[in-house]
Symmetry: none
Subunit: 205 residues, 4 copies
């Protein structure tokens, strides 16, 4: 097993790290754990990464950054349409997030909270997390504002506040889910009953 593609091994390391991170957290995860799990030895880790820290950054870049980009292109286009259904769009967004997370939901949640904790001692991670949150906030803010303009979303609450609550409840459910995996995450859709006005087409799920 002397030779394999560098890129392939690197990808395996990134994937394994992401999976294992959720279990033990990044700090408690040893390079030995990672490399053993992909059938390589400790020493060869450093062929692909300069340090464990670099590995973390790469995991964030390749794993957590993606997904967001996929949506920020189409959604804005749909919003500009004259007769658009903001609630439908928002549900699509959330559904797509769910799709991305898929069965890895818990893994993602743990990975994220590990980052959160890691951010305390790592400026780079802290900045990245905040930027990431800002991206989502900006993105959702656009949707909410459009909903208010079209008279579909209530206007008695400030746009940014609604955005914050939207984000808050989504991540909040993640936490509940971490504590009680049997919880029904789709309940989160009920927030729509509250933020959208006179909505005859009842929701499902």
């Amino acid at each position: 097993m002397k030779s394999s593609t560098g890129i392939e091994t690197k990808r395996k390391i990134l994937d394994a790290t992401f999976q294992l991170m959720a279990d033990k957290g990044f700090d408690a995860l040893s390079i030995d754990d990672i490399m053993t799990s992909i059938g390589r030895t400790k020493g060869s880790f450093y062929v692909h990464f300069k340090s464990k820290e670099e590995l973390l950054y790469e995991v964030m870049r390749t794993r957590l950054d993606r997904g967001h980009d996929r949506m920020t292109e189409e959604i804005p286009k749909e919003l500009t349409k004259d007769k658009c259904n903001v609630r439908a769009i928002l549900e699509k967004v959330i559904a797509e997030i769910h799709a991305i997370l898929g069965n890895d939901r818990l893994t993602w949640a743990f990975a994220y909270y590990h980052l959160l904790i890691h951010s305390r001692k790592d400026e780079f991670v802290r900045v990245w997390l905040e930027a990431n949150a800002d991206q989502w906030s900006t993105f959702l803010n656009i949707i909410v504002k459009r909903g208010q303009e079209l008279g579909q979303i209530r206007t008695d609450v400030d746009t940014q506040t609604i955005t914050n609550m939207l984000m808050g409840i989504v991540v909040g459910y993640d936490i509940l889910f971490m504590v009680k995996p049997q919880i029904d995450v789709s309940e989160v859709y009920h927030i729509h009953d509250w933020m959208f006005v006179n909505d005859p087409s009842s929701k499902d799920e």
Copy 2:
């Protein structure tokens, strides 16, 4: 300072651990860190605790369990009153939580998420967290149900779902607060605009 009450030192250790946990997390926190911070030496730690693990459990017991008890006695009494204002009660509950957290808000949040992560590898912690969540859930569920009975809280959404959303949004705001400490946590009160029906007395703060 060679001799002091055992109980006093033990309390100091518990307090210091809680404070330091927020910064570095429980795992990254060394016994040396803790003992140095209270002016004692590493060796004497084991006079008070059998292991680092036991320390964690004691922190949870003495720090995180309390607060809850303080409320679960008075609130139910108020709820049984004929003409009670459920919204006012709920706001009192949240205000009281805020009071408990006080300036340690971030500390609490980090401590909690450390536990969350720790729960992955520690059955004891996992069970405790779930029990803790259940306590709160049960407690809030009672309030919400009473609100619905009195016609103060909307009934088109299931009692437990409203409870879950209530909890979700509260913890969700904590997360947002961890990422962006400049966020206004009191926004969370707006959820009341949504769950309570025809409420003329506008909210505050």
Copy 3:
């Protein structure tokens, strides 16, 4: 073997390091080597030193700094005497150095040259070495100048140049000694035949 005096173990580490340094050099010397040689385990090294680097500095401080101090007190007093024999004084100085080195001559030489090499990458060591050389230079310069004043040392060569040659030949012989341990280091005394003028009482050892 759980308990011993900290100071005792620390001294053992310093001594062992000095001895072993001569063999393998400081870099090639592992902490395991040192601790095993004194019957302790690697981990306990860090009870006494913060790092391997600190160990090096302490070795320099406690080993290489001493000796010099012993002389710089008496010699100057002797020099101020009206009828002093500078050659005798100089020979005493060199004899005393030899006495300090004793059977550890090779060890000292190797330790010193390891430092020399280490100085390339360690500012602290570089500065220390230069300061150490300056001390000796200043010390010898005083002796030589006094000898010239008294008409005992030739004045056709600059004071500092004589000092430099004196130092040069002493360390030079150390090098020769490293390459060929059978060389007779006491030959170095012949330099006196050259620097001192009309000296009837010839001398070799």
Copy 4:
């Protein structure tokens, strides 16, 4: 730059190693350092050398052995002349050494002392160093003896002792120069004032 002459690359490796040795020492120098510095990769090192050890020997052979050969042919011829000026010859020898060292003086010095230290654990290096010293000693001894025969060099000191002091002071100045690069190495010529008798044409540089 995929393919080049093997010999060319080998020479590059030898040169780079010599240069880099002075900075970090041979042990601290990694094969990666060397190969990167010449724009090749680690793996190809083993096309040219069997091991790192072999590299060291080759550096010694090709770098440190030369220079000596250049002189040992002409000088003896000059010495046999009836009316030869031994002092002039000796100065020529030293000047030539200086020329060989050139601006690499410090590099040579460090490289040499690394070897010195390396000799402790490597029989081959030890033997080579001793042979090298013997060569120089023999060579200088011939010059000194001839100077004594011609009455140009003092005879009150043993031939070999003068030779040793000559070597000692030359290498001694190298050490001083390592510690204090601002020192004037040409001072070393003053030893001639001492070993040569009634020399009217004084000399400094």
